[in-house]
Amino acid sequence: MELSESVQKGFQMLADPGSFDSNAFTLLLRAAFQSLLDAQADEAVLDHPDLKHIDPVVLKHCHAAAATYILEAGKHRADKSTLSTYLEDCKFDRERIELFCTEYQNNKNSLEILLGSIGRSLPHVTDVSWRLEYQIKTNQLHRMYRPAYLVTLSVQNTDSPSYPEISFSCSMEQLQDLVGKLKDASKSLERATQL
């Protein structure tokens, strides 16, 4: 994991009991996790009364350093020993290292879910709806009398916030073909998970 000097400086300040007492340290740590993971976290996350005595510039620097480190650690799936080593290098005492590791462990799953959801992917199918109709006539052709399906796939796009849909019609035979192929895919998936 490559971390900048800024992160390192921020952590060194966090390690210092003179700048951050135990309470302030815990609050800042929790604020860092909260601003990353809580979708509704507002900007006032650092506005706690017990943090008021600390210089706001220092506060912001350390908050940013902690958040950056947390993301890097999450990205690389850092284990406890990696975390401990880095924090030791930043002159954290045992108690603060334990605190950090515990907070990290508590939030690890949410962090990984968040990181895993970032990124580009193909349009993702989320749902399907269908309509069965019985075609009787058109203005060009009377007495048709055949069933037809209208299938709509709901799709989510990472690029745009819009939710386009893909609709198409098919006959009964075509739908059977489609379902057959999807079933092949899911059987293949089942077999792959058993390897």
Binding site: K75, I136, P147, V151, V155, I166, A192
Partner: protein, 199 residues
């Protein structure tokens, strides 16, 4: 249900008894080609020269025949109704039989061509799929994220369109389940009753 033929239409068709049945059969073939591929003026000219009539006459004769065949096919009229409709033209029995045969032989194909004229949505053509496992991304390493990548082939008005999509295993199972239910619907009593009774 009888076909209603306008005066103009009857005039155009009046050309047919003046030629022998081989020519009428040939006109029938030209009429179906016309439906498949559009008009070919050269054919009209060469036929006009051989028969010693104006190419307009030939064109009207073919168009009249085409209209007769398409209207009959569209309405899917019975043999009897077709014969009765053509009877008013006062043609010979031989010509009437020929026209009926032309209708019956080409009806299915003409109906297929007519069905392509209806307003249509993209229709399903094919589906290709592929199993993928995402191992890492820029924001997270050491992942095992299975996904199914799908290429959906659709047709619309003759254009071939493909869409590449992805889905996760849970959604795939959901899709299969939902669409199987859709297929099952056709076998329910309700649908069977409708199919039986609307004819």
């Amino acid at each position: 249900m009888l076909l209603e033929l306008s005066e103009e239409h009857k005039e155009h068709l009046a050309f047919l008894p003046q030629v022998d049945s081989a020519v009428v059969a040939e006109f029938g073939r030209i009429a179906v080609e016309f439906l498949r591929r559009g008009a070919n003026p050269k054919i009209y000219e060469s036929a006009a020269r051989k028969l010693n009539v104006s190419s307009d006459t030939v064109q009207h004769g073919v168009e009249g025949l085409t209209y007769l065949l398409t209207e009959s096919s569209k309405l899917m009229i019975s043999e009897l109704d077709f014969q009765d409709s053509v009877f008013v033209l006062g043609f010979s029995e031989e010509l009437n039989k020929l026209l009926l045969q032309l209708y019956l032989d080409n009806r299915k194909e003409i109906r297929t061509i007519l069905s392509e004229l209806a307003p249509s949505l993209p229709s399903y053509h094919n589906l290709e799929w592929r199993l993928d496992v995402q191992l890492a991304s820029r924001s997270l390493r050491q992942q095992i994220k299975p996904a199914v990548t799908i290429k959906l082939h659709l047709n619309q008005n003759g254009d071939h369109n493909t869409k590449v999509l992805q889905t996760d295993p849970a959604t795939l199972l959901h899709l299969v389940q939902q669409l199987e239910q859709a297929l099952e619907e056709m076998k329910t009593n309700h649908c069977r009753r409708v199919v039986r009774n609307i004819k």
